[in-house]
């Protein structure tokens, strides 16, 4: 008896060592990510000190962006970023949810399902510059036609076009996560509902969607984050006007797009610093939106 016990103990010591080693590595790696993010924020903060000192909070509310006279206001770009991202999100949501429900509930397996799944995932793999080109060549003339019919100046490029391009780019993020969530709904729940005489639509409405709403929302949040930071595709179709957008068909600019456009040739300290502060600003906006999103998820799950 005693012998057996000691063998068991020795083995568990080994196991314990392995356990603690594994746990420690996990913590180290996870903490490294936190350190990395903090370091990025710190770097941005240090390098944006010149403009923070000279402009202060005017940077957040200023409407003029003029590198020649060193006046920098990020407000028009904040509005441009939020407008394009949220319009894109609203356009993409019906498509993303439809794909998620179809693949998760109606056709989880089979060749059609695989084809659809791979196609959606491919959307995420296409480089954003390709979307920019596509937008410029295909979408812009279509939007121009639409604008002519509506009776506004047919620029073709602007906030609206950028939002459509963004919407297509972010569909896979919410669709893929949504599909996984819907497939994870326990079969017992659904079968229970069916046995009570529910139709498929009723099962989706009363069982699947309530069960997965936090997951679907998380996917939407992920897609929104992608839209906020997208640079290349947006810059090619948004019109890059540094003024406050006057309508959703008008030109505008986003924070990421301004940084990408002007960073390489920013030829004096204050200018460079203003672009870096814009990066910091975008970083903070993303953090704030994520925090709000997490709050909503928490609330939704509690209900």
């Amino acid at each position: 008896m005693e012998g057996m016990n000691s063998v068991k103990t020795r083995k568990s010591f080994g196991q314990i060592r392995m356990e603690s080693f594994f746990k420690r590595s996990l913590i180290t790696i996870a903490l490294l990510m936190v350190v990395l993010v903090l370091a990025i924020m710190l770097t941005l903060l240090v390098h944006s000190m010149p403009t923070i000192k000279s402009l202060g909070f005017k940077f957040l509310w200023g409407k003029t962006w003029d590198p020649i006279s060193d006046v920098y206001g990020g407000y028009p770009f904040l509005i441009g970023t939020l407008l394009t991202s949220f319009i894109a999100l609203f356009i993409s949501m019906p498509f993303a949810f439809a794909i998620a429900i179809f693949l998760g509930e109606y056709k989880p397996t089979g060749w059609l399902s695989n084809l659809l799944k791979n196609t959606v995932e491919l959307i995420a793999a296409v480089p954003s510059v390709i979307y920019g080109f596509w937008g410029l060549i295909v979408l812009v003339p279509l939007v121009q036609e639409l604008e002519t019919k509506v009776g506004i100046l047919p620029y073709g490029i602007g906030i609206f076009t950028a939002s459509i391009v963004l919407a297509i780019m972010i569909i896979p993020y919410s669709a893929s996560l949504g599909r996984e969530m819907i497939r994870m709904v326990p079969a017992q729940l659904k079968e229970g509902a069916y046995s009570l005489g529910a139709t498929r639509w009723e099962v989706i409405k009363t069982v699947v969607l309530p069960y997965t709403k936090s997951g679907l929302f998380a996917g939407t949040l992920l897609a929104l984050g992608r839209a906020l930071g997208e640079t290349m595709a947006v810059t090619m179709v948004i019109g890059n006007s540094n003024m406050l957008p006057t309508s959703i068909f008008g030109p505008g600019n986003t924070m990421a797009s301004v940084i990408a456009n002007e960073f390489t040739e920013a030829d004096h300290t204050l200018y460079l610093s203003a672009l870096i502060e814009l990066g910091l600003f975008l970083f903070l906006v993303t953090v704030i939106i994520n925090v709000i999103g997490k709050r909503i998820i928490k609330k939704v799950t509690k209900e």
């Binding site: 003029t64 962006w65 003029d66 590198p67 020649i68 006279s69 410029l136 812009v140 003339p141 121009q144 100046l153 047919p154 620029y155 073709g156 490029i157 810059t235 090619m236 019109g239 890059n240 006007s241 540094n242 030109p251 600019n253 797009s257 990408a260 456009n261 002007e262 390489t264 040739e265 920013a266 030829d267 004096h268 300290t269």
Partner: protein
Amino acid sequence: MFKKSIQKLAIAMLATVTMAAATANAQGDRTLLGAGSTFIYPLYSKQFSEYNKKTGLQVNYQSIGSGGGILQLTNKTVDFGASDGPLNEEQTKKMGAPVLHIPMASGAVVITYNLPGNNNLINLTPDIIADIFLGKITKWNDPRIISLNKGVSIPAFPILVAHRSDGSGTTAIFTNYLSKVSPEWAKRVGAGGAVNWPVGLGGKGNEGVSGIVKQTPGAIGYVELIYALQNKMDYAKVRNKKGSFIIPSLASVTAASNVALPADSKIFLTDTDAKDGYPISGFTWAIIYKEQDYNARSAARAKEVVDLLWWTIHEGQKFATPLNYAPLSKQALAVAEKILKSATYKGKPIIK
């Protein structure tokens, strides 16, 4: 077999050079490093490959943009920088030591437009161009444009201004020109690689601007001459200081630099005094330290740099025209020679 292995070796060496680009003087003296202007990159790659055939010297040029080239020279990680604009005050201060600007070729900015049904080059004057880009002229059938272009059918389209959204030497030349010809522009907007445009849409790069212009009837924008020539775009004749309407071409751009130039060549050629010169043109420069003895560089390496640049402004110029660059004018060449001769190693001239 032998040839192939040499090729492989060359590729391997090139890769090593690229990776180790951090310290220029760690390289052998047979490889020079340069960085900067994307505008001059096609000309440089032709010139450097010809020079390599002749002398065996390898030049590794990274076309990362003028700003990046200046930064790399400031950090002394390259032998020469290349810029489409002269260094500004802050950049000069950061260099820490005097630098030389050696003109390499000229480029020009052309006004391109989309007027369906019009096959003639239209005439534009400096004040009209400025007022269009200031947003004061908003229709193509403005009386001032019509009276300049008698016999040309100009439709009554609204004008859509297209400009560069990225910081660029093209914008610097164009806005410098507008500041010279329009006091209002100088006061309201100013000159620089990126400015606060009063009106219009921004496109990224020459292709972005030309994309907007091509897709929108009534649009007007500005692009590099080379880009316009290669893409067969319409461009306007512009009235110069002496009163003649000049078609932008390599000859008229070269002519623009055939005027009295300052000894350091650091000027924008815009609004030239030359009678047959196109008014919206500018130099592109190679930039080196005046004193070549820094970072423990060898005298041989310093001589390689100066010899290379000497060759590009002489024999190398013949590759300019076929690639649509305007070669240096007589006056510009004379100034460039003098500047190169002022380069020193330990205080002594490198070439005489």
